[in-house]
């Protein structure tokens, strides 16, 4: 639920930032901010042992005002009641505590509002590893038994792609709230039935699209939506690696089970494992869905029996001719991973955490002043001095989106937001929809590649998601 009034919104986002702090996301930045800017006359918030003024914290993050946040990243409303839920508990079970499941577990264990009740996995070594982290949890071989446990409020589903749908549908059926890792479904129909079941269930549904909670992305999107980089016409997203993407297999009969990513029956390879994240960034930036998709994929280097492509390029086109490309080649890592969001005035690279202007950069001091205006706090900005000349500026190294690169990629906040939502029984705006469309887009790309056709976005997979047509939070 998004609260409409200005002051309530401020409180809402103040809470969000408190949560950031609470979970020590910006431990280093925080220390600096606390040292530099805490003034006794300003409102203080008490978070664990620390006192922090919101103004300083906002300033430190460089996050613009609450209004913009509410339209750019409305799911942050998940944190709106974080104070009142201090004494509440969320009882969680993890289905599939493999590598990702245990990564999520590491954050859940740091959250004092979480009781980790049980694990379910069909592979004993995964259960053993998970028990090392949470020795008191119950274990089940069959996830249905875990779902029968009435004390469990919510489940995290972190099993291989082809198993998500059945488990998630069963979980909703059992009355559980669900956090499903991306990509949510193995095909578009599965995604649709998962989404529809969620709607009918009245439960909470989150997906593992952690960039939605990554401060660099949140801030970058704010700037993009404010028009800071002009009109965005093109996005180049890519994820390159130079490795075979294989896991060690203890016995050959486990090959397809352990390396499920490499086989058609269990995965759609790079599209579902990597593209899913970055395509969502593209639609977040453009605030609309593509109309058409084309692509090509091949196995060009890792001819080791795998069935999924190791080399892919797709183009997604939008109504006004804008384009988003997505590519991955896993035989060369030089250009790594990035989403290059290109406006006629500048480029943002959120993964690297930087933005670049085409000609002359705006003055950082002035951008700061604008943030302060939005937050209704004013300080004096140091910029006056002897004349600034272009040759004294370096070549275009760009500016950092946030002063320092946060070491968190949003995953812990995504998990914490889920916990908050389960406790408050409030599904945050747009969060399930972002996960749904991320899945549909990567699956559609995969289909365009395998069919060798230009595909239009199928009407039957459009959901009632009016937020892409308006930026106003009131429409949510």
């Amino acid at each position: 639920m998004i609260v409409q009034t200005d002051s309530a919104e401020n409180i809402l986002f103040a809470n969000f930032f408190r949560v950031l702090l609470f979970f020590h996301i910006f431990a280093q930045t925080l220390e600096e901010i606390l040292n530099l800017t805490c003034k006794p006359e300003l409102t203080h918030y008490i978070i664990m042992e620390n006192k922090l003024n919101r103004r300083a914290f906002l300033k430190g993050l460089g996050i613009v005002g609450a209004g913009v946040l509410a339209s750019t990243s409305p799911w942050l409303a998940a944190f709106s009641e974080v104070d009142h839920t201090m004494k509440e508990r969320c009882r969680i079970g993890i289905i599939g505590p493999g590598s990702r499941g245990r990564f999520l577990l590491s954050f859940l264990l740091q959250n004092p509002k979480v009781d980790l009740v049980a694990f379910s996995d069909i592979y004993q070594p995964s259960l053993d590893e998970a028990l090392k982290m949470a020795p008191h949890a119950k274990t089940y071989k069959d996830y249905r038994k875990l779902l029968e446990d009435k004390s469990i409020d919510a489940v995290i589903v972190a099993t291989p792609l082809n198993t998500h749908c059945k488990i998630v549908l069963d979980a909703f059926q059992a009355g559980k709230n669900v956090y499903c890792e991306k990509t949510i479904g193995y095909d578009m129909s599965q995604c649709r039935s998962m989404y529809n079941t969620f709607l009918k269930s009245g439960k909470i549904f989150f997906t593992g699209q952690q960039r939605l909670f990554d401060p660099r992305y949140i801030k970058a999107m704010e700037m993009i939506h404010q028009g800071t980089f002009g009109k965005v016409n093109c996005i180049h997203a890519f994820w390159n690696r130079n490795d075979n993407w294989r896991r060690e297999v203890p016995s050959p009969n486990l090959e397809r089970f352990i390396n499920w990513r490499l086989y058609k029956a269990s995965s759609k390879g790079l599209m579902t494992e990597l593209a899913c994240h970055q395509l969502q960034v593209g639609t977040w930036a453009l605030q609309k869905l593509p109309q058409k998709v084309m692509g090509y994929g091949a196995i060009t280097f890792w001819k080791d029996g795998r069935e999924v492509f190791d080399n892919i390029n797709c183009i997604y086109t939008f109504d006004k001719g804008e384009m988003m490309t997505w590519g991955s080649d896993i035989s060369n890592k030089f250009y790594g991973l990035e989403e290059q969001i290109m406006g006629n005035w500048g480029t943002v690279e959120p993964e690297r955490g930087k933005y670049f202007f085409e000609d002359i950069d705006p003055a950082p001091a002035f951008l700061q002043m604008i943030n302060e205006w939005e937050n209704k706090v004013f300080g004096s900005i140091p910029f006056a001095g002897t004349s600034w000349a272009p040759e004294t500026a370096d070549e275009n190294h760009g500016e950092y989106i946030l002063g320092k690169r946060p070491d968190n990629d949003g995953t812990s906040l995504n998990v914490d937001a889920f916990v908050e939502s389960v406790i408050t029984h409030k599904q945050p705006p747009r969060i399930a929809e972002e996960g749904y469309y991320a899945a549909i887009l990567c699956l559609l790309g995969h289909e365009a590649i395998t069919r060798g056709e230009i595909l239009s976005f199928p009407d039957e997979f459009k959901i009632n998601y009016s937020t892409y047509h308006t930026k106003a939070p009131s429409a949510l």
Binding site: D6, G67, Q226, G227, T228, G230, W345, G346, F357, E358, D359, I360, D361, P362, A363, F366, L367, M369, I370, W373, E374, K376, F378, G379, S380, I381, P382, F383, A384, G385, T386, S387, W388, A389, P390
Partner: protein, 271 residues
Amino acid sequence: MVLPHVFQKSPSGESLYYTWFSAMHTRVDLIFISREAESFYSNLTNLIHKRIFEIEQIANCFNPKTEISEVNRSAASRKVKITEELYQLLQCCIQSNFKTCGLFDITTDSKNFSSTTISQVALSEDREIFFGLPDIYLNLSGFLKGYALEEIHIILKNAGIHDALINMGNSSILGLGHQIGHTGWSVKLQNSGEEIILENECLTTSGNNSVQQLHIVNPLNGIFVTGKRSLSVVTTSGIEGEVLSTALLLANNFQRQQMAHEFQIKRIIHS
């Protein structure tokens, strides 16, 4: 043409527009606060951009195609007819030379420069200019930003914009009206951290931003200002700010007192 900008509107209807572009060999930053729509500010910015471009076309001595360059090339060999605008600018510069006891001087880049070189620049009433010596070179760079600030001020007044901050390369800043919730515009000096409130006033700074820099010469003795030091001055006029920031940096006590009589100086800050 729409220049890069950031536009924001508050729930109470106030709008803020920030735009930046390069001109006069530096970056120009403009912030407007009013209740107008984005397109209004974009048009206003275009007007300002155009006006600054016009000023550069007249008075930028580094561009060979400008009027001042033609004067520098030809006025030693023939009388050159100049536009009213350049005429006014040059007259103002020559007067400023008197008012600053010779410390503000637009001829210091001339070959064989001396403190009397400027006296060889003859302006006639019918807008002709003639140099009484060869190789006189007029450089208005230390003056133009302040002039541009005044011209921008006029455009803003006509457009009904009362609250604005105009920054010409950090060294010439005009604060008009108020930052919302404030009295005036609060600006800090980079070097000293000193806070200055500008309320329909200009803050102009001259000096060296590094020890290596040698670019301000005393016209009276030919000695360059050395060391990392600067002087800022608060004035109501942008032009006077330019003249004074340089002249006061060079001035001795007596000259400073003279200037205090001639100009309305609101504040002087050494850093």
